[in-house]
């Protein structure tokens, strides 16, 4: 036994992670000691400052890493190299933008979260909390903890840290998923599913780690990589272990066949959280996957190639085809994110430097469009209007939950042209139409794949994206060229405002139902409108749109910047 030697810690290199996690801890203290009246303001300020600080910290580290190629921190548990910094900057930036949407409130002061998430949906207690205007400001530290985990995830240098980071980022997300203000049962159901399936995949990952440790005697990527070079008798141990580790990561990115949770969770979670999750989690998970494939398992490229190819093809095809038949906007975006996971996988399979650059760039452009698109989904609402009832003009009828059914988006381009145009921009970017960032991203991953010899994948990718254009353009056509369905009759819509009651009425086409007595039952009409907000979300959406356009027209500076540091620390 050697004496324990405390590792020297390079705090500067850790600063992006440390800032965010510290702020999260401070946020917890704020919950305990700051009066409720100003709590939201303080929390928001801390969270925004922390995320901006993380971006700045990355910028300060940049030139050093560009020169030295990166540093090993905490005795090899964390690797601060070029890809780490690019991913951390992307995650922090996207989290910052998402946070603006998460924090925004409608004109009536409602945010996207349940007033009291612990209350039983539809109970008197919940109604009392709602009337009192209680707000759940714990979401800010939760988002920061998740972001902290995400910042660590792609920087990990050994499997144990990888697992810890995965849990740190996942647990807050399970909670956040279940906190939607509207359709609470759907939200809670999604949270439960996400938790159970997430636990399942974590178990797979852990089992894989154990097997790989059994084979190589180490948890460090570099040492495992060396061990795979030496021929040994327990190859199947290594292979099965690697497959399990990969499937744990593929679960997080939502690749087929580990994608089943994605549409349900995306649909059920509060929409701003969905945007945060779809963008940032995917960036972090792909970052980790990239590092594992490039630095831990390059010796197994041939053996695991068949797995990655199969998964990539399935993901592109299933994501695209399933998106074609969806009728719910959030599910469409959910399946589209699955298809995008497939496109990104083709860049990973390329196994060359162009592949690293392409994947990092794609994640940025995909993340920006995703956050923006979900931000807009959050703004498009249903408005109740009574027929033959007490009446009331359009203006003072209550605004309900998000109008997520596709048919409700018809004619939005006529009533809200700028909003619809911005949404169309994001969709075109998803579709990869030239002069949007999505095109530059798709072009770079597919050309990297061709360069890396994976041209059949690129071919399938191109085919899948041209099919995908159909459902993106269908939405654009719906918004601009279709007459609004007008006041559509909904049989048992409920005029009461109780969130859970809406959950019952509007979730009727979903899988949830409860034995809840609607307060008032009447024939009512529901129209689509765009809700006014305090303006944070608009800033965020505008920023995403700007990124999408600028990176579409001038992708080269950013591609150059990424290419200048796109080497993994061995």
């Amino acid at each position: 036994m050697t004496d324990f030697v405390a590792p020297t810690v390079d705090w500067a290199a850790l600063s992006p992670v440390v800032i965010v996690l510290l702020a999260a801890v401070v946020g917890v203290l704020v919950e305990a000691f700051v009066p409720a009246r100003v709590r939201r303001t303080v929390q928001l300020a801390i969270a925004l400052a922390a995320l901006a600080g993380a971006v700045i910290a990355v910028a300060l580290l940049w030139s050093g890493v560009e020169e030295t190629g990166g540093t090993v921190v905490l005795g090899g548990s964390l690797l601060v190299d070029g890809p780490t910094l690019v991913l951390q900057a992307t995650i922090a930036l996207l989290a910052l933008v998402s946070l603006l949407i998460i924090a925004d409130r409608t004109e009536t002061g409602e945010d996207a979260f349940a007033p009291n998430a612990a209350a039983v949906p539809g109970s008197d207690y919940e109604e009392a909390a709602r009337r009192k205007g209680v707000q759940q400001t714990e979401i800010y530290p939760l988002v920061l903890f998740a972001t902290g985990g995400m910042l660590i995830f792609p920087a990990t240098g050994d499997l144990l840290t990888l697992f810890v980071a995965l849990e740190v980022l996942s647990l807050p997300l399970y909670l956040l998923t279940g906190m939607a203000r509207r359709r609470r049962l759907l939200s809670q159901e999604a949270s439960m599913k996400y938790f159970l399936l997430g636990a399942f995949s974590s178990a797979l990952l852990l089992f894989g780690i154990a097997l790989v440790y059994g084979y190589s005697g180490s948890l460090r990527y570099s040492e495992i990589s060396e061990a795979t070079q030496v021929p040994g008798g327990l190859d199947s141990l290594l292979l099965v272990g690697s497959v399990l580790i990969l499937s744990g990561l593929l679960f997080k990115v939502g690749a087929v066949p580990f994608h089943t949770w994605t549409p349900d969770v995306y649909q059920g979670a509060p929409t701003p959280i969905t945007g945060f999750m779809a963008a940032c989690t995917k960036v972090a998970a792909f970052g980790a996957l990239l590092r594992v494939v490039y630095t831990m398992l390059p010796g197994l490229a041939w053996d695991l190639g068949v797995l990655l190819w199969t998964v990539a093809i399935l993901t592109m095809v299933v994501g695209t085809v399933a998106a074609l038949v969806q009728t719910d906007m959030k599910r469409v975006l959910g399946y589209s994110s699955i298809a995008h996971a497939g496109f990104i996988l083709t860049g990973i399979i390329a196994l060359n430097e162009a592949g690293i650059v392409a994947v990092l760039f794609y994640l940025l452009v995909y993340g920006a469009a995703t956050v923006g698109a979900f931000g807009i989904v959050w703004l498009v609402r249903e408005r109740a209007g009574m027929v033959g009832g007490a009446g009331g003009s359009e203006g003072d009828s209550p605004i309900l939950g998000e109008a997520t059914h596709l048919s409700q988006w018809a004619g939005l381009g006529r009533t809200h042209p700028l909003l619809a145009l911005t949404f169309a921009l994001f969709l075109l970017s998803f579709a990869g139409i030239p002069l949007t960032a999505g095109f530059a991203g798709k072009f770079s991953v597919f050309s990297a794949a061709v360069e890396g010899g994976a041209w059949p994948l690129a071919l399938i990718g191109v085919l899948a994206s041209s099919v995908a254009v159909f459902f993106y353009v269908r939405i654009i056509v719906l918004m601009f060229f279709t007459e609004p369905a007008g006041a559509e009759e909904t049989g048992t819509a409920v005029t009461a405002l109780a969130p859970s009651a809406e959950g019952f009425a509007l979730g009727a086409d979903s899988t949830v139902a409860v034995e809840a007595e609607p307060v008032v039952q009447t024939r009512s009409t529901v129209t689509t409108t765009v809700v006014g907000t305090e303006g944070l979300a608009v800033v965020a959406i505008a920023f995403c749109a700007l990124v999408t356009i600028v990176l579409g027209v001038f992708p080269s500076p950013v591609l150059d910047l990424i290419a200048s540091v796109a080497t993994f620390l061995a």
């Binding site: 599913k193 159970l196 399936l197 399942f200 995949s201 797979l204 199947s236 292979l239 099965v240 497959v243 399990l244 679960f251 066949p257 580990f258 089943t260 949770w261 053996d303 797995l307 199969t310 998964v311 299933v318 085809v321 399933a322 074609l324 038949v325 430097e353 162009a354 650059v357 042209p417 139409i433 030239p434 002069l435 530059a440 072009f443 770079s444 597919f446 050309s447 061709v450 360069e451 041209w455 690129a458 071919l459 191109v462 041209s466 254009v469 353009v473 060229f481 007459e483 009727a508 086409d509 979903s510 899988t511 949830v512 409860v514 992708p555 080269s556 591609l559 150059d560 990424i562 290419a563």
Partner: protein
């Protein structure tokens, strides 16, 4: 964009600078730097019109006309500058800076100014401007006229990007742009479901074609490591194998088929006539649909090196040529008959482009003359519809010559041009294509006879159906009495804004062909791009070909005269022979598409969705239904629901592990 700004800033000095720049590959100074304005002006106008909204309703259409006209003036300046340069330095690249640059791949955006692209630029901006003027009057009563002009400007800009691009990728940007503009304009009156469906059909057919272009881009990038014209077209002699070149050629042909409505992707063009008539004239007759011809001629060195692909091009052209001509004989809708004729005439161009160096210049020549006479006839058709309460059924026309003299005369110029009566434009270009088709090919003597005969026969059929159209509309006895609403029909000549463009186009239909053909002006002009074609003797003497063709043409006209001018034309179409009935429904093209493409595609989608639903979403749908019905029972099932997710993950994992282990051993 930043280049454009600096350009505008340097414009005054640029104009006063020495107009003859030194003969170099890439021009960085001189008057040619105004070239980006060609695209910039209409694009800017489109943006203004779309963003300004209703505020610009009053003057928006004139801004559109102005942008297009200004673009034409710029084109004329560039053209004159180019004429002043010696012949061997007329191919000029104007760089607009690096577009995408990331180590492994680099793409420059730039414009290639050469006689071929300038020919298109002049055609697009000149005919485009005339049609803009026409549309001011034609769309007078439409509340959305401003939006219409925004789309027209957008189209002009995209079309100019397409022809001015110096790489296949930038060409693709323009290619998608014209597709978008075409889609928006076909569906302009989208409150009519049928029109919206037509727009969608055009969109889908074009996507299939675009797929070809994307795949061609991919193969080019993999083979040559670049997608710009310079590298690709000079690289065909080197590393690339015959198979690769043939694959690229066929994929480019697929793209051309989609855009230019060639067999087997031709079915959308007839339906596209749902758009306003100026659109049919500009996009679906004169310019966009000829983009496929441009693509093939632009890729000439590539096709020269891939004879198999070239043969397929000729076959596709020949099939479409006959197809369009036969369909044209049976259509009673004046615009659809013209659309069929467009298809057929582009068949001539594609066929000529497939003949190789003997045909390239004549393909473009026919494209230009066709641009004039076909646009003129479409505008004429629009004028007739304008005077006849939007009636399009020719069986309801007749004897209109007396009521609309200018339309009648200008239409007659177009008619004589398309059937190839000397000295009208079409004679000079079509005759050359027929001659070129009769030129023997080494090793395949049958080709000259087969394709020569087809082109000659088609000229006869063209004469028949175009004369039928002309006589049914303007000659014979009147078969109209009341409007649809019952009031009396009063055909009248169109306003001057509409007749003047028709007159200008008619002048082109009469004289342009002779002007360009005499002294080989046009062929010499294109020589810097396409080279001087060697002279080959056709298998028949040239005068025999010309006489035979003219005899067939006259026979066609006489036949049409007997059936549609001097004898009674029934208002209700007779049942007709099996061929007539087939031709009326586009030779069953839609049914074939349904059976060959739509049905299997839908079945595939259904089965994939079904698999996803049953195997993965498991009981979701069923549960969803029972949820509503059975309330509390659901909670128990929901556990199973997550379990089915987990089970599918586990199943997938096991399959993957087994596959990996199998591959390893």
């Amino acid at each position: 964009m930043h280049t454009l700004t600096t350009l505008v800033a340097s414009l005054p000095t640029g104009l006063s600078a020495d107009t003859i720049a030194p003969a170099s590959e890439t021009v960085r100074a001189g008057v040619l730097l105004v070239a980006p304005l060609l695209v910039g002006l209409p694009l800017l106008s489109a943006a203004v019109l779309l963003l300004a909204g209703r505020r610009s309703d009053r003057w928006g259409h004139w801004l559109g006309v102005l942008a297009s006209a200004a673009s034409f003036v710029v084109a004329a300046i560039v053209f004159v500058t180019m004429l002043q340069r010696p012949e061997d330095s007329r191919v000029i690249d104007v760089s607009l800076g690096t577009w995408i640059d990331a180590g492994a791949f680099q793409l420059d955006a730039g414009m290639r100014l050469d006689p071929l692209s300038m020919t298109f630029v002049l055609l697009v901006t000149f005919v485009g401007t005339l049609i803009h003027v026409y549309a001011v009057a034609y769309m007078d009563h439409d509340v959305d006229r401003r939006r219409f002009f925004a789309y027209l400007n957008l189209f002009v800009a995209a079309m100019l990007i397409l022809v001015l691009a110096d790489s296949y990728l930038l060409l693709f940007v323009g290619w998608e742009g014209v597709g978008l503009a075409s889609y928006l304009l076909i569906g302009f009156w989208n409150y009519n479901t049928e029109y919206a469906v037509a727009a969608k059909k055009a969109f889908v057919a074009n996507r299939i074609g675009d797929l070809g272009l994307i795949i061609a881009l991919g193969i080019m990038f993999a083979t040559f490591g670049a997608v710009d014209f310079g590298t690709v077209l000079s690289g065909v002699d080197g590393s690339a194998g015959q198979g690769t070149l043939t694959a690229i050629g066929l994929m480019l042909l697929l793209a051309a088929c989609g855009k230019s409505a060639q067999f087997p992707l031709q079915s959308w063009l007839g339906d596209a006539m749902a758009g306003p008539t100026p659109v049919s004239a500009l996009i679906h007759a004169a310019t966009m649909v000829t983009a496929g011809v441009y693509l093939i001629v632009r890729s000439a060195p590539l096709f020269d090196a891939a004879p198999t692909a070239q043969l397929v091009v000729v076959i596709v052209g020949a099939i479409t040529l006959l197809f369009g001509a036969i369909v044209g004989c049976a259509k009673d809708d004046i615009k659809k008959a013209l659309a069929a004729s467009t298809m057929s005439q582009i068949g001539y161009m594609i066929l000529a482009a497939g003949l190789g160096p003997v045909g390239y210049a004549f393909a473009i020549f026919h494209l230009i003359t066709h641009g004039f006479f076909k646009a003129g006839m479409f505008l004429g058709a629009g004028s007739v519809m304008h005077g006849m309460d939007d009636q399009v059924n020719m069986r309801r026309f007749g004897g209109l010559a007396r009521y609309m003299t200018i339309t009648w005369l200008t239409f007659m110029a177009g008619w004589l041009a398309i059937i190839g009566i000397p000295p009208f434009s079409g004679f000079w270009s079509k005759d050359k294509i027929i001659e070129a088709a009769f030129v023997p090919v080494d090793g395949a003597p049958w080709r000259a006879w087969v394709f020569g005969t087809i082109t000659m026969l088609a000229a006869g059929i063209t004469a028949f159906y175009m004369s039928r159209l002309f006589f049914m509309t303007f000659e014979g006895e009147r078969r109209w009495s009341t409007k649809r609403d019952g009031s009396a029909q009063h055909p009248h000549e169109s306003p001057r804004l509409m007749t003047w463009p028709m007159i200008v186009l008619a002048v082109g239909s009469v004289g342009l062909g002779a002007f360009l053909a005499l002294g080989d002006r046009f062929v010499d002009w294109l020589a810097p791009v396409l080279g001087h074609p060697e002279h080959h003797e056709p298998v028949l003497p040239v005068w025999v070909i010309t006489v035979l063709t003219l005899a067939l043409v006259i026979a066609g006209v006489v036949l049409a005269w007997r059936r549609y001018a001097i004898s009674q034309v029934p208002v209700v179409p007779p049942v007709g022979t099996a061929l007539t009935r087939a031709a009326r429904v586009d030779l069953y093209q839609d049914s074939v598409n349904d059976i060959a493409l739509v049905e299997p595609g839908q079945a595939l989608t259904r089965s994939l969705v079904y698999a996803d639903r049953t195997a993965i979403d498991g009981t979701v749908t069923g549960v969803g239904l029972s949820t509503v019905l059975l309330g509390g029972w659901v909670r128990r099932v929901q556990t199973g629901y997550v379990r089915s997710y987990a089970a599918s993950m586990l199943l997938g994992l096991v399959v993957l592990v087994v596959v990996v282990l199998l591959v390893q051993s």
